[in-house]
């Protein structure tokens, strides 16, 4: 079956809220894309790029690895990958939860606009790059330039952190936040309760309250 045929079939089954098992995907791209109804999809094996992307509602589990841009632009739902995820995991998600049981690549949570990304292992370069809303929880270490150019949202790192990105700063973590994080981790089967470093935007690059030069001329 082609990826298109697989996705059309998944859509049909999703209409009835079915629980579907997808066997032997062989790390192919664009698996479980565009599913807009709540349903359960279990993928046995690894998936390629853009797996479980453009979706609204489903619960997708992958017992292998995922390629680049897992869950891209998800509106709501829940994705859990047992192995590693490639670069740009949870890119531009607007809601829902993405869980990576292993490590994630560069630009994890790039341009997130909501939702939660949890990585049990490490993340790479530019974690939370240009993030606009939502939460990233990294239980391991991060690469360099954490939170570079983030506007809003929050990044929590339990392990060693690379350098702070441009316009990112470290903030205090309250006990309420910690309880909330530990609760989220427990939802994904993580019983450890590590302490976290919190990274937010320093907002020195914020210029949304001032007019562009040409706009001023017009007014």
């Amino acid at each position: 079956m082609t990826a298109r045929q697989i996705n059309l079939r998944l859509k049909e089954l999703a209409r009835d809220g079915a629980e579907v098992e997808l066997l032997n995907p062989q790390a192919r791209h664009n698996i479980a894309v565009g599913i807009l109804q709540p349903c359960r999809i279990k993928v046995r094996g690894s998936v390629g790029y853009f797996a479980a992307s453009l979706m609204d509602g489903p619960e997708v589990t992958v017992d292998g690895n995922a390629g680049w841009a897992l869950g891209d632009n998800m509106m709501s739902g829940r994705i859990a990958v047992a192995g590693d995820a490639g670069a740009s995991v949870a890119s531009t998600i607007r809601g829902g939860q993405v869980f990576v049981g292993g490590n994630a690549g560069a630009r994890a949570g790039i341009s997130m606009k909501g939702g939660t990304l949890v990585v049990r292992g490490n993340t790479g370069f530019l974690t939370g790059f240009m993030m606009q809303k939502g939460r990233i929880i990294v239980c391991g270490d991060t690469g360099e330039a954490v939170g570079d150019s983030m506007y809003e949202g929050v990044i929590y790192v339990a392990g060693k952190m690379g350098s702070l990105g441009s316009d990112a700063r470290i903030d205090e973590v309250s006990e309420e936040e910690l309880m909330e994080i530990w609760g989220t981790l427990e939802e994904f089967g993580i019983s450890e309760k590590p302490r976290f470093t919190k990274i937010v935007s320093a907002k020195r690059l914020y210029h949304f309250d001032s007019l562009e030069r040409l706009e001023k001329t017009v007014i």
Binding site: Q26, A27, R28, H29, G45, S46, G48, Y49, G64, N65, G67, W68, G83, D84, G86, A87, N103, G105, A106, R107, G124, F125, G143, E144
Partner: protein, 304 residues
């Protein structure tokens, strides 16, 4: 976008008899969505028929036998003894015994009219062509080639024209066995090329990736280790790159500081496979093997 792949068999198999050609074709076929303009492989460690294996190309198949004769004459004049030679279409392969300096031999060959040099290797040879890996295998019987290690490439052209000369792998003229496949674009290519040309290096093409091969070969010729040459390249190359290098007895990779291009690795007790995407690794390994995705500025080498 391009796709790259590499494989090396360790001590488990009898040296030189591993299915390198077949593995590379399988891996590249599964990466065809990353590029269909041209394909190519370096297969290393499979033959012991002569001191050197030379791969040549001429732009006119009807003149191939003349070009082959001229190349053989050039080799004889340079002090070489031709062990075997063959031509099919525009492609020529010559095995030669030769104890002199490789640059002199390469120059002698290039002085023969109508010759383009794809590789000179003690143990490895470059086979490349326009079209998909399927076309490459059908035309050049890559799947039959055995060896110890090799690298491969499928190309979606961005930086220079689509023809056989600009297909990967690129050989580091005139350093035997050093070949490179690259996914990305180098932005300081012209600056580096001019600097190397000022030092007397020759370039065979206008493709940015060729400068990586020359860069590494230059470092190796100065006595640097492959690992050190790869590390330095991450500092000195500008742009986006993930590349693989194959030498006489080693395989390696380097990734740019932006982690802009993908790479995944699977390693067993028997072999190491590297590729742009996991789909290629699964064409030679089973899913139970752990996968590693290298991060920014990482380099790694494996030796036989």
């Amino acid at each position: 976008m391009c796709g790259i792949s590499g494989i090396m068999y360790k001590t488990g198999r009898s040296r030189g008899s591993a299915p390198i050609g077949a593995d590379l074709v399988k891996m590249l076929e599964s990466l065809t969505h990353r590029g269909r303009d041209s394909s190519g492989v370096t297969v290393a460690g499979g033959r012991d028929e002569a001191d050197l294996i030379i791969r040549l190309w001429t732009d006119d198949a009807t003149r191939a036998s003349d070009v082959l004769a001229r190349s053989e004459e050039a080799l004889l004049r340079a002090g070489g003894v031709v062990v075997s030679s063959q031509s099919w279409g525009e492609f020529l392969r010559i095995a030669v015994n030769y104890e002199g300096e490789i640059p002199a031999l390469a120059e002698a060959l290039l002085s023969a009219e109508g010759v383009e040099l794809h590789s000179i290797g003690r143990v490895s040879e470059v086979i490349k062509d326009v079209g998909t890996p399927f076309d490459l295998d059908r035309r050049h019987e890559i799947s039959q080639l055995k060896g110890t290690h090799g690298i491969g490439h499928v190309r979606m052209a961005t930086e220079s024209r689509v023809d056989i000369s600009h297909a990967h792998p690129f050989w580091a003229y005139p350093f035997p066995d050093v070949t490179v496949v690259h996914n990305g674009q180098l932005t300081n290519y012209h600056k580096l090329k001019r600097a190397f040309e000022d030092q007397g290096h020759q370039f065979q093409t206008e493709n940015d990736s060729e400068v990586i091969a020359v860069y590494l070969a230059d470092k190796l010729a100065r006595g640097d280790s492959l690992d050190s040459a790869l590390r330095d390249s991450v500092e000195n190359l500008d742009g986006t790159f993930t590349y693989l290098v194959s030498t006489e007895d080693a395989l390696g990779y380097a990734k740019d500081p932006w982690s802009a291009k993908p790479l995944v690795i699977m390693e067993t007790d028997d072999a190491i496979a590297i590729a742009s995407e996991e789909v290629a690794l699964l064409s030679v390994f089973h899913e139970e093997v752990d996968r590693v995705e290298p991060q920014e500025s990482e380099v790694m080498t494996w030796s036989l």
